[in-house]
């Protein structure tokens, strides 16, 4: 009995460490479901750090060369005009390949991705986005050379814009 308890404690530790791989052990052992449950809670909203890690694999984002023009206070979260401006070159051998836009307070932070080419002549793009609540607007630029540049700007939202 004592031995079993020890095993459980160990596999629990292993479970926490290795996540999914350890699930099988638990299922085979048929042990306390209450131990397993917390790991399988309701799907959580993805945080901005998770999203960035998933999309860029923890690569360093240099917080430079990008400017976000956005209102300090957005009266209506359903229409928040933002402009992304970068002074990075748009030469055929070195250009901004993609602009990723995130609204950190949204259930799904990724808002839009814009693929540019040197034919755009200028790394600038404007659009209107929805924001659920006061939060940062974050932008990550990817260049054709694989470098990442970013910026963030806080926008205060007085009426949310994602319905519900």
């Amino acid at each position: 009995m004592e031995q079993k308890g020890k095993d459980l404690a160990l596999s629990r530790r292993a479970f926490l460490k290795t996540g999914g791989a350890a699930c099988a052990m638990f299922l085979v052992a048929g042990s306390l479901p209450s131990l397993v449950k917390p790991a399988f809670g309701a799907p959580k909203e993805e945080s901005i750090t998770d999203v960035l890690r998933r999309q860029f694999g923890g690569k360093q984002v240099s917080q430079s060369h990008v400017d976000i023009k956005a209102p300090i206070i957005a009266e209506n979260g359903a229409v928040v005009p933002i402009t992304i401006v970068s002074d990075l070159p748009m030469r055929s051998d070195d250009y901004v390949k993609r602009i990723n836009v995130y609204a950190e307070g949204n259930a799904e932070p990724f808002v839009a991705g814009i693929d540019l080419t040197p034919a755009n002549g200028k790394a600038e793009f404007a659009l209107r986005i929805k924001m659920r609540k006061t939060a940062n607007v974050r932008v990550v630029l990817e260049t054709s050379k694989g470098k990442l540049y970013g910026a963030a700007r806080s926008v205060k939202v007085t009426i949310g814009g994602c319905g519900g």
């Binding site: 928040v80 799904e108 808002v111 793009f125 986005i129």
Partner: protein, 109 residues
């Protein structure tokens, strides 16, 4: 409700060759998130533009991946290096298979 997929394009009237010009584009579309409910509790299904392609001549110069978090009646401004006389075609696609497009001729002097 206004017609879905009506596109308006605004850009400088005269363009010199090689000039980088802003192009404003507005498209009418509800951009429903799928999160909103009617008064009697029914979910309004998601209906939004998820892709935009911009062609200049034969080349696709810009592509956008959009989500439900782009505002209704999406408005965007992009830049174009007008180095040739060619049509500029903007194509929107939504999640219900709708395709809306508009073409303007670019004639730099």
């Amino acid at each position: 409700m206004p017609a879905v997929g009506r596109i308006k394009i605004r850009m400088p009237h005269t363009i010199s060759r090689g000039q980088v010009v802003p192009v404003d584009v507005l498209v009418t579309h509800p951009m429903e998130t799928g999160l909103r409910k009617t008064k009697d509790g029914k979910v309004i299904p998601a209906y939004f533009i998820n892709g935009v392609d911009i062609f200049y001549g034969g080349d696709r110069i810009t592509h956008c991946d959009w989500t439900i978090a782009v505002s209704a009646n999406p408005f965007m401004t992009f830049y174009l290096k007008a180095d040739k006389a060619a049509p500029l075609r903007i194509v929107y696609k939504d999640n219900k298979g709708g395709v809306y497009q508009e073409t303007v001729q670019i004639n730099p002097r």
